[in-house]
Structures are given as structure tokens and as C-alpha cells.
């Protein structure tokens, strides 16, 4: 039993099933991020937790009591919407106090609470303004203030930052993280921005087409994606997925991968799982993050499994602190991340280092991770 339990929850709209048997347990004080491509059912799941959508089957429990039938106004849940949904006819202060008023809190107490939260969010000078007189960033703050002031059991956020410009989005992200560290309220946060997911969460739930793909800490999701979808979805640029074949190498089993020239090279597997030892000849997909295929200067010197590789550079893209370099491996174009001042240049051969201790293998048919 966790604090917020989602047990076998399914959602149907008519005959269309948009969520399939979702099981998630959110611990008290946790910051869970739901991430996935558009239309995968994130908002639907969030709305069901809030009580704005009916649960077709399964159960949602808070503090081990079933809330499926509890009216949204009776659940102690606050939500921040993508459009902010500030009441246009009320001032900022009125917006923040409305929920308190509905819960029968006295006027003097309301004022004190609003004042406190307004100071926390630095919106005290805005309290008498109408929402139409605020900038996007200010509206965002007020929407958060309206949720915070109620001090609910659970915060729900549905893409709260997607209407802000890039700079403000990064600032607010940090701010939300700080607030969570300070208040420790259990939070479920929906986004389709995987960087937001990585930076904010204590755990991430990756969804696709109404199925939960993987749930785990950001590090787990990043280093050990459970299938090809998660590997390709999380991380920017995403994980390189390279067709390869298990062979007997000179030092245990290895992977045969084709280079730009069409020649084959063997990459030794680092601590291969025992199950792989008798699978010589099997086709697999090798997953490597861009920072695990890099130049000797940028390579992680502490890695126990650095292996050299000579390959043709197709193109280089400088992005300030990093240089992204494209090469061909296993017949697909892959991306390497190198230092910003890396001196490799396009159309020349360069020596690269592959960190095989970070490698993950997938089965091409089932698309699941095999080691």
C-alpha cells in the first residue's frame, strides 16, 4: 500500500480503450512524473485521480481508502491546469481564496493563508489584479498559488509549463522543484517534455498508447530503459539503437557491428548476463547513450570497459557545451556527444571510444530489454 494507489485502472470512452490496466503506487511526498507522447492518456489518468473522469474499471485509493465514487469537490486534491484556468471575474487574491471559502474557512484565516502563499510565490503585489492583467508567467504562479494555499493531500499538474517561453519554463521548473523540496506534498505531474520529467521527478512513469511502459527513478529510466520505446523516448538526443549480432570474441562474447566502411568490428560485452553466453549468432539491438560513444578526450576514464573504434565522421553540430557528431554504426546513423571544443571534423576518420559498461541490449522482435 502506497499513499496514492492506482490499481488496475482502465478507461474506456465508448468502445475505445484509452488506458489499459494501469498500476502505480505513489508514496507520500513523492514527485511522480507521467510522461509519454501526445494522446497516450496522461491527462485522462490525471483527471481520473482528480475525479473529473469516471474510472471504467479498477480502483484509485488514497491513504488506503477507495475514492472512485468520491465527488471531486470532496477529494482533497488541487490541480494546476495547462491553461491555468484562473477565474476571470475574480482578483488574484479572490482566485486563491475561493477554494478555502468553499471549504468553509473563515475570512480572516483565508486572508492570512493567501498572504503567506503569495509571499512564498512572490505575487503579493498582484493580489488585487484581475487575471487578464497578468503576464503568462504571473498567471502560472497564481495558478500554483491557488493550488498551494489549500494545502491538499495531492497536487496534480497537467503540463503546467507548456504555455511558457523556453527561458521562463526553465526558471519555473527550478521553482517547482524548490517548492516540492520545501513542502513535500505528494505530486503527480504530467508532461510530454522528457527533460522536465528527468529534472523534476523522484520517479517517472513512461506511458504509450494507454499502456504503462516503465516506472522507475530517473536514473533507472535513463540507464536501463525496459524497452525500445522508452529508450527512444527518454533522453535528448535519444539513445542510439544499433543492430548487432552476438559472436564469440577473443575475450568472451562480443557484438559484431558494421562500421561506416561496411567492415565489421567486434565490441566486447562487459559482464554479459549468463543467459547470453550460449546465444552466439542471435541478432540484437545495442543501445548506447550519445555520451557513451565519444572521443578519447571526452570518455569516462573510470569506466571499466572503454573500447576504441575508428569510424568516419559524417557531420558535426556544435551546441555550446557539447558537440554532437553523427557516424554510421550497424547501418544506422548514430549520435555521439563530445566536448564543446572537440576537434573532430566531418568527412574524416576519427578514433572513438565506446563505453560498453553502459550498453543495454534489446530483442528486435519483442522490443524488450534482455540485459
Amino acid at each position: 500500500m502506497a499513499f496514492l494507489d492506482i490499481i488496475g485502472v482502465t478507461k474506456r470512452f465508448g468502445s475505445v480503450k484509452v488506458l489499459h490496466e494501469i498500476n502505480i503506487g505513489v508514496e507520500e511526498g513523492e514527485f511522480l512524473v507521467l510522461v509519454g507522447p501526445s494522446g497516450c492518456g496522461k491527462s485522462t489518468l490525471l483527471n481520473m485521480i482528480a475525479g473529473l473522469e469516471i474510472v471504467s474499471s479498477g480502483e484509485i485509493r488514497i491513504r488506503d481508502s477507495r475514492i472512485n465514487e468520491v465527488h471531486p469537490s470532496q477529494r482533497d486534491i488541487a490541480m494546476v491546469f495547462q491553461s491555468y484556468a484562473l477565474y476571470p471575474n475574480m482578483t488574484v487574491g479572490g482566485n486563491m481564496a475561493f477554494g478555502l471559502e468553499m471549504h468553509g474557512i473563515s475570512k480572516s484565516e483565508r486572508q492570512a493563508l493567501v498572504k503567506e502563499v503569495a509571499e512564498l510565490l512572490q505575487i503579493t503585489p498582484l493580489l488585487d489584479r484581475k487575471p487578464s492583467q497578468l503576464s503568462g508567467g504571473q498567471r502560472q504562479r497564481v495558478a500554483m498559488g491557488r493550488a498551494l494555499v489549500r494545502d491538499p493531500d495531492v497536487f496534480l499538474f497537467d503540463e503546467p509549463l507548456s504555455n511558457l517561453d523556453a527561458k521562463l519554463r526553465v526558471d519555473m521548473r527550478t521553482e517547482i522543484k524548490k517548492l516540492h523540496l520545501k513542502l513535500g506534498t505528494t505530486t503527480v505531474y504530467v508532461t510530454h517534455d522528457q527533460i522536465e520529467a528527468m529534472t523534476l521527478s523522484t520517479r517517472i512513469a513512461v506511458m504509450m498508447d494507454g499502456h504503462l511502459q516503465q516506472i522507475g527513478s530517473p536514473a533507472e529510466i535513463y540507464q536501463l530503459p525496459s524497452n525500445l520505446f522508452v529508450a527512444g523516448f527518454m533522453g535528448s538526443p535519444p539513445m542510439n539503437l544499433i543492430p548487432a549480432k552476438i559472436v564469440n570474441g577473443n575475450d568472451g562474447i562480443a557484438l559484431h557491428v558494421s562500421l561506416h566502411s561496411g567492415e565489421m568490428t567486434a565490441l566486447n560485452l562487459y559482464q554479459p548476463s549468463p543467459g547470453l553466453l550460449n546465444q552466439v549468432g542471435r541478432e540484437v539491438i545495442l543501445g548506447l547513450r550519445p555520451e557513451s560513444i565519444t572521443d578519447p578526450d571526452s570518455a569516462d576514464r573510470n569506466s571499466p570497459a572503454n573500447q576504441p573504434l575508428l569510424n568516419r565522421i559524417i557531420i558535426t553540430e556544435t551546441a555550446g557545451s557539447d558537440t554532437f557528431v553523427k557516424t554510421m554504426l550497424g547501418g544506422v546513423e548514430i549520435t555521439s556527444r563530445m566536448r564543446g571544443d572537440s576537434e573532430v571534423s566531418a568527412n574524416s576518420d576519427a578514433s572513438l571510444v565506446v563505453d560498453m559498461s553502459k550498453a543495454v541490449l534489446f530483442d528486435p522482435q519483442s522490443e524488450q530489454r534482455i540485459s
Partner: protein, 292 residues
Amino acid sequence: MSQSRDNSLPTSHFTRALIYTALLIFAVYYLLPLFVMLTNSLKTLDEIRAGNMLALPRSITIEPWLKAWDSAQIGVDPSGLKPYFMNSVLMVIPAVLISTMLGAINGYILTKWNFRGAGVMFGLMLFSCFIPFQIVLIPMARVLGLIGLAGTTSGLVLVHVVYGIGFTTLFFRNYYNAFPDELVRAALLDGAGFFRIFWRILLPSSGPIIVVTIIWQFTNIWNDFLFGASFADFDSQPITVALNNLVSSSTGVKEYNVHFAGAILAALPTLIVYIVSGRYFVRGLMAGSVKG
């Protein structure tokens, strides 16, 4: 108003002159009847019979106005239009308020509390806007008789409310359709119930559409003749029916000056409503199409 000039395309002086001439002609054409009524209502009967209709009064008299208001012969009583004016007021105010309120609640439910068959329900209400008055006369008379409201002002209020709901619902539904659902959801999570959300969130933002609906309902109900003539008794007749009686029942001489004064009296409330709130009317009609 000054904005429309900034936005207008550059035109030659000639086109300008042409446009203004045309506009002037139309304005005169529309204002002429009002002018005739107003000037002749201020003349004595002798002067009307002697002179021409378009001439200004030689000596102004308010006698016809006073007579039309409280001593002209209407039906059997020399009561003037006053009691009937009051009948109209007593009919129109509750009918407008009730139908507007019901339209607002209907629009709220149809857009924000989607239930099975909401579309069909709305379709039927919309359909009611197109049912000709004449068709419902006999069934309505029967219903009024059955519930004991035949010949009363309350009966007329009921008829106008029922007939108006289709339009008022249409107005509010379209207005609330553009109103974000997330606001209702936010209010729900804030702990507000069905009526609280309506009262505290939607209604305070509905100013323009309320004005439109009130003007629409007011003019329609105030100007209604058919229902008034069909369902009212002598002591509940609205002013439109009384005006007709005034004009047609005069024995002997036709007092045109009194008739004109009476007609203006009957039209005055709708004129005032338009002049006072016409600006909001236009703004309200626009509000649905342009997101604020």
C-alpha cells in the same frame, strides 16, 4: 466609433458623397413615420384635419398625450392606456427575468454538464424557436384553462416564458460554449458545487449575453399582440391590445392625435431599452465570435 474611420479603405470624395447621400435618404425614410407621429400627436384635432400631415404644429398641445394616457375610451371604459401599460409592465418583467434565468441555467447545463441526449434536447429547444405562434394558440388556451391561469397576467407570463426558453437557451448555450471547461473543473476541485459554480464563476462573466437576452425578450414580449389578444381578459390585457382597441373602438370622430400619442406611449419602453443598452447589445452579439 472613431476606430471604424481608421480602418476604412481610402475612398474618393465622390464615393464618399454618394455613400452619405444614400445613408441620409435611408435615415429620412426610417425617421419620417416617427416624425409624423410625434408632430401630429402635438397638434389639435382641428389642425390635423385642416393642414397637411408633414407640417410642424402651429401651437403645441399635450392634451392628446394626457388623454391617451388616462381618459381615452378603450373598450367600454374611459380609462386611457394607463392600466394596460401597467399590465404590460407586470407581464414583461417577470417573463423576461424568468426566461433569461432559465435560459442561462439551460445553457450552463447543456455546455458544462454533458449528459446523454444533451444534443437531442438542445435540438428540440432550438426547434421550438421556429414553431409559429398560431399553431400553439389552441393547445395553449386549453392548458391555461386546465391550470386555472386563463385570462390572467400570470398566464401570459407563463406563455411568454415557455415561448422564450428556446431563444434564451440558444443565446446562453452559444456563449457558454466558448467558456473554458477547465474553469468549471478547477472550481469543482476547489470544492464548489453545481449552483455555486454557476453563480460564482459563470454568471459574473455573462454580462454581455444577459443584456442581449433581456433586450431580445423585452422587445418581443412587450410588442406581442397575438398572445395578449388571445389569452388575456379585459383586466389583464397588455398595452398592444389596448392600443388596438383605442384605435378601432372610437365612436364617432377618429382622434388621430390621441392615436399617435398612444402609439408612441406603447413603443416608448422598447425605444428606451434600445437607447440605453444598444451598445451592449452589439457588443454581446460580437462576444461569442471573438475570444476575449
